[in-house]
């Protein structure tokens, strides 16, 4: 629609709602208890759940950073009203970095078989991969990935906020460039990071689409978080400029990219199923037997089948209650997806090398610990970081387009 006579809405200065604080405290307390209990129970189990939580929240921040980058360099207009929420998400990166560094320094031997010298010495196949699979390299790469992501997201936030003062269109153009550069680096780093952190849990197995699969999981999860945060902020009286038409776009984002997730899921599964080669099928055999089958299908249901069917009608995409329901489903679904990738591998490793006796999926307070702990910290950090800049980018040249957005 044309850029005409849309008054700039009044904006309430951000103060974290009391309900966020309460939720965060409950999550952190339960999370701490669960994490401590998990480590007391079995340290491999504690570290597995820390890994899931670390990768999960890296993904929330990175998914938002990717959305910010893509909407910037494609000259998107509708998203300007929620731009500051995405910016706040990207500020979370240092915390998952600490989690990943802790895993690299203290927990690696509980998770990655290639980090145990006796196993490496007796496995010629792993020795051929030692260039990539070694502890120093893993740690250096963690620092490198986060350094890249934190630099580009810092620049994107900086240019976005600098525009608030002057309204100079050059900042929009800067972000087109930084967004494009971020996307190129992100494509490479997210692939290598997912190989390092997840795929190398089963170092004999390989899948060339693995990086794309992680990337799209992050994207959908970040979109779902965005929906929940925006709805919660609106309930507290903020973001009054976000309308049903913006909800419609959130709905389309979850619908379309949830379906893309399923497309990548099938692309990985079907080639391995079809070729039926033992060095590839091991990944799925471990996830379809010993009681994992139900979770294997629940993963598909939560991440694609249900969201796809629920979000198909137009009115459901415009209904905040239904959007929140689907977002919750996807938030749980992405955790389940990571759980299904990590736990069968690490429990198998624990049984064979740490003398654990596990058969099938485990679920208890130990699993809830780290993910809820980081979730609580995430809410607290967002409560703080949403106040770092005005919630409405008043001088963004695309602001009028966002305010007048209509489906």
């Amino acid at each position: 629609m044309g850029a005409h006579h849309h008054a700039i809405p009044e904006e309430k200065p951000w103060v974290m709602p009391g309900s966020w604080m309460k939720t965060a405290i409950v999550l952190i307390l339960v999370g701490l208890a669960g994490t401590v209990y998990g480590f007391m129970d079995a340290s491999w189990r504690g570290w597995s759940n820390v890994l899931i939580a670390g990768v999960y929240f890296t993904g929330v921040a990175l998914g938002a950073a990717f959305q910010f980058a893509v909407f910037s360099f494609t000259n998107g207009g509708w998203w300007i009203g929620v731009k500051r929420v995405m910016e706040a998400f990207t500020t979370f990166l240092p915390i998952p970095m600490l989690v990943m560094l802790a895993i690299g320094l203290f927990g690696m031997h509980e998770l990655y078989e290639w980090s145990v010298p006796e196993i490496m010495d007796n496995d010629p196949l792993l020795q051929r991969k030692a260039l990539l699979l070694n502890e120093t390299g893993w740690l250096v790469r963690v620092v490198f990935y986060f350094a890249v992501w934190m630099t580009t997201t810092f620049l994107m936030r900086k240019f976005s906020r600098a525009q608030d003062a002057t309204g100079d269109v050059k900042y929009t153009i800067f972000n087109v460039r930084v967004g494009a550069i971020h996307t190129v680096f992100y494509g490479l780093t997210v692939t290598f990071a997912s190989l390092d952190w997840l795929s190398s849990l089963e170092p004999h197995w390989f899948s060339t689409i693995f990086g794309v699969y992680q990337f799209i999981g992050m994207f959908v999860c970040a979109a779902a978080f965005l929906v929940l945060f925006v709805l919660s902020m609106q309930k507290a009286g903020y973001l009054s400029w976000i309308t049903e038409d913006h909800y419609h776009d959130f709905g389309k984002m979850m619908f379309a990219f949830g379906t893309f997730w399923a497309y990548i899921w099938v692309s990985q599964y079907i080639l391995i199923w079809y070729a039926n080669m033992p060095e590839e099928t091991g990944f799925y055999i471990a996830r379809q037997n010993d009681g994992w089958m139900a979770i294997f299908f629940l993963n598909l249901a939560c991440n694609w089948v249900l969201p796809f069917l629920i979000l198909m009608p137009r009115n459901n995409k415009r209904n905040p209650k239904i959007l929140a329901l689907v977002a919750g489903m996807l938030i749980f679904g992405h955790w389940l997806d990571l759980y299904l990738q990590v736990m069968p591998a690490t429990s198998h490793f624990a049984v064979h090398h740490h003398g654990a006796t596990v058969h099938g999926p485990l679920f208890g307070l130990q699993e809830l610990g780290p993910i809820l702990l980081l979730g609580g910290v995430f809410i607290l950090v967002m409560g703080k970081m949403l106040g770092a800049a005005p919630l409405l980018a008043k001088k963004d040249p695309y602001l009028q387009e966002s305010l007048a957005h209509h489906q």
Partner: protein
Amino acid sequence: MSSAVATHGHEEIAKQTRELFVGIFTEEHQLMSVAKDATDNGHPVHDCYTPYPVHGLDDALGWKRSWIPYASFCFGLFGLSLAVGLQVHSQYVDFVPFWRGWPIIIGGKPFLSWPAFIPVFFELTVLCTGHLTVLTYLIYRRLYPGAKVKVHIDGVTDDRFAIALDPEGEGFDEDQARALFAKHGCTEILTVEGRV
């Protein structure tokens, strides 16, 4: 909303011509406001003509949602059924005389290895939905090759926006219509012969 040869929003398409009372505007937002004003104040709007799709114009005119998405859903189900039928028949049905499939063992897998069918499920669903939806739209709106031009207004496929009122419609008043057009910055008023 539509190109110069389309007539949206009219449920009855009778084969007759009539003079339409047309106001020409140069800006999208002028058309939006005149369309809303005309609808709210009971002027008989025949249709609007714009060079590109204008978001929100259907709301401004008070039109109902199109039924075409529901047709698309049905076409999707049809495509999926076609894919299921095609593959299950050709890989399994060898017991119906004169209508046999040709089951073949591929890669040592059983005949009904449905995961292998997924790409075809997907493709035929998308193919049928896409093509049949476009065809339905073109036929329903009479936009197929050789269809007669219904309304011709110069410039509405280029840089002008037009709203057409139906002078024989209920509530039409030429003076009020002129005042309405003028209020929203109309640059030209025409009477155009339309096949309505």
